[in-house]
């Protein structure tokens, strides 16, 4: 008898629950939407197609790096070396390019250098049991140093035709860096969600000992994670180097680590690992991208931009529902 009365309440509850689920899982998307709508209102230019493409283009480099950072942070680690490694990869790539004249060799060099530095990071973390923060801090100093040393502190430019086409061509209306970013995002998404490797990454980040006792080769997985992330840095380095057809050993990649980490955390990945999603990172990257774009569009004083960025990062994170 009480049934008809209960029904609506039940339904409401169900809706409630679903909403709260969406909120928990996707609060970053909501934050993104709010920022997006606010931006459209604040600046009429914002919604123009070319501007939206600009934003995507601008986030593609940090975006690719943030994908690797997501994997690392899911596994419970962190990588402070990405910016320096980007500069190192860029420098060695251009050197290889100019020496060999072959774009193919340049790309192979880039991937090899990124993979190798990533491997070293992973080795230090997994085998030598150095805290990821300190291991990659060391790598950050070392990689920048080698980049400066090999290029005498300056910047070097590609001398081979066609290399700059990598980043400066379009597929339809979409510029290739955006396309590469999208492709990498899909790959990392599949890797994390659909394969056993991805499962292990989450397991290690959540409970390393439990993962170990389940027979997972924690060390190898960690090394693989850092190596893959290093290769994603290589991809980012290729995009960046090819876009300007040059790389600066001193200024390229400065502070990219902070942007990438911020994007990952805004995207809802937990600092200590085990929880988070690639999709969150994508929106985290976009939030930062829109923010930079808007501050330029609105000509905000450069002195105050740091303040605005800091504030938005914190609001976006507070916004995430806590358990």
């Amino acid at each position: 008898m009480a049934e008809p009365e209960l029904e609506p309440a039940k339904k409401a509850k169900k809706w409630n629950r679903r909403l709260s689920w969406i909120w928990t899982e996707y609060s970053v998307i909501i934050a993104f939407l709010i920022l997006f709508v606010a931006s459209s209102i604040l600046s009429p230019r914002f919604l123009e197609f070319s501007n939206l493409m600009n934003i995507l283009m601008q986030v593609s480099i940090i975006g690719v790096i943030a994908l690797g950072m997501t994997m690392i942070m899911l596994s419970g680690g962190i990588d402070l070396s990405v910016g320096s490694v980007l500069a190192l990869v860029g420098v060695l790539t251009v050197i290889a390019l100019n020496a060999s004249g072959s774009i193919f060799i340049a790309i192979i060099t880039a991937l090899a250098v990124g993979a190798f530095t990533g491997f070293l990071n992973g080795f230090m973390v997994a085998k030598l049991k150095i805290a990821a923060f300190i291991a990659t801090l060391g790598m950050m100093a070392a990689a920048r140093s080698i980049a400066l040393y090999t290029s005498d502190g300056g910047s070097i430019s590609g001398e081979v035709d066609g290399f700059s086409a990598i980043s400066n061509s379009s597929i339809g209306a979409i510029q290739s860096p955006i396309f590469i970013f999208g492709l990498m995002a899909v790959l990392v998404f599949i890797l994390l969600q659909q394969t056993r490797f991805g499962r292990y990454v989450y397991a290690i980040g959540s409970n390393e000992k439990g993962a170990l006792l389940s027979g997972i080769r924690v060390d190898r997985i960690k090394i693989a994670v850092y190596t893959l992330a290093g290769m994603l840095v290589s991809v980012a380095a290729i995009i960046e180097t090819s876009r300007l057809n040059s790389i600066s050993s001193s200024s390229s990649g400065q502070l990219y680590e902070l942007d990438a980490i911020a994007a990952v955390i805004i995207g809802g990945t937990r600092m200590t690992g085990g929880r988070g999603k690639v999709i969150g990172t994508l929106f985290g990257v976009l939030i930062l991208g829109i923010l930079n774009n808007m501050m330029n569009l609105m000509n905000v004083s450069p002195y105050l931009q740091g303040f605005v960025t800091g504030l938005v990062i914190i609001i976006a994170v507070v916004f995430q529902k806590k358990e």
Binding site: G153, L297, P302
Partner: protein
């Protein structure tokens, strides 16, 4: 007299009279111009050490305090002359005083100290860059137009280059700075920033950048956007690539204003002289922010080295 003073202590064995050392305290290479400056300094110091047998010790610092530390280290090493490029003028002023107090000849490069501790000052003209660029754009635009400023990251160099520019255009009512954004002395950042600025501004007649590297990023953004309204981009510094652009008729980069990284060479040469006990010929070497356009680019091409 100086030499005897520094020769005290027990480092007597094997010491020769010509066993002189120059201390060099520079910021670390966080952008291209500084990287080039350090490179010039190192090359010149090596050359002097080969030719004249004068050793050198170079330090690099991230922040003023670390640099003050470096200077203390160099003083306690009894260097015979010191070349200093202060990260911040005010902050390194006491350190400069310490050098003077220790009777070590001091050459200050790029930025002046706030006291007279320096024996010689070798500087470029940061305000001049801004001022000359302003004058140049006023001339080119006939005193009227919309200008975008791409600045360096917030610091005193940026401040001076902005102030000079402001001063120049102040008198000309017709020039309006429609946007002023931070390009971080980086080509990549400037590209991104300029893309966004182009989005926001319908009409831009010229772009004043505070660094050649940033001019390249700005140029690429304009070309990609296919914008026809922009007619002039100016740089600062004097990179080889900039001269190529200036000589190229089609390039929008039409002028740059010298701020040569080889000023460190000059500083080290002077320090070597001072270390050998010579008196400086002049107390101030001002490397002017000479305007370089297609008219005089070939004259300067030789000197460009980064």
């Amino acid at each position: 007299g100086d030499e005897e003073a520094t020769g005290e202590g027990e480092d007597g064995e094997g010491t020769e009279d010509s066993d002189l050392t120059i201390g060099i305290s520079l910021p670390s290479a966080t952008h291209g111009w500084m990287g080039a400056l350090i490179d010039h300094a190192e090359t010149e110091a090596n050359e002097i050490s080969e030719n004249k047998g004068i050793d050198y010790v170079m330090t690099n610092a991230e922040d003023p305090n670390e640099q003050a530390n470096d200077v203390d280290d160099l003083i306690s090493q009894d260097v015979d002359a010191l070349v200093l490029l202060p990260i911040e003028s005010a902050a390194l002023t006491p350190a400069g005083q310490n050098v003077a107090d220790a009777d070590i000849p001091l050459v200050v490069v790029d930025r002046e100290l706030e006291n007279d501790a320096a024996d010689v000052v070798v500087t470029g003209d940061n305000e001049g860059i801004g001022y000359n660029a302003g004058q140049y754009l006023i001339d080119q635009l006939d005193g009227e137009g919309d200008v975008v400023e791409i600045t360096g990251p917030p610091n005193s160099v940026t401040e001076q280059r902005s102030a000079g520019f402001e001063e120049a255009i102040e008198d000309e009512g017709g020039i309006e700075v429609v946007a002023s954004q931070d390009g971080d002395f980086s080509t990549e950042t400037s590209l991104d920033v300029m893309q966004n600025v182009l989005q926001a501004q319908d009409n831009i007649d010229a772009v004043y950048t505070q660094d050649d590297g940033m001019a390249f990023g700005v140029l690429q953004a304009i070309e990609e956007a296919g914008r026809e309204d922009v007619q002039y981009i100016t740089g600062a510094g004097g990179e080889t690539e900039t001269y190529e652009h200036i000589e190229d008729e089609d390039s929008l980069i039409t002028a740059t204003f010298l701020y040569p990284p080889f000023m460190s060479e000059e500083g080290i040469r002077l320090a070597a002289d001072l270390a050998q006990g010579e008196d400086p010929e002049e107390e101030e070497v001002l490397l002017e922010a000479t305007e370089v356009t297609d008219e005089n680019a070939d004259e300067h091409y030789e000197d460009a080295s980064f």
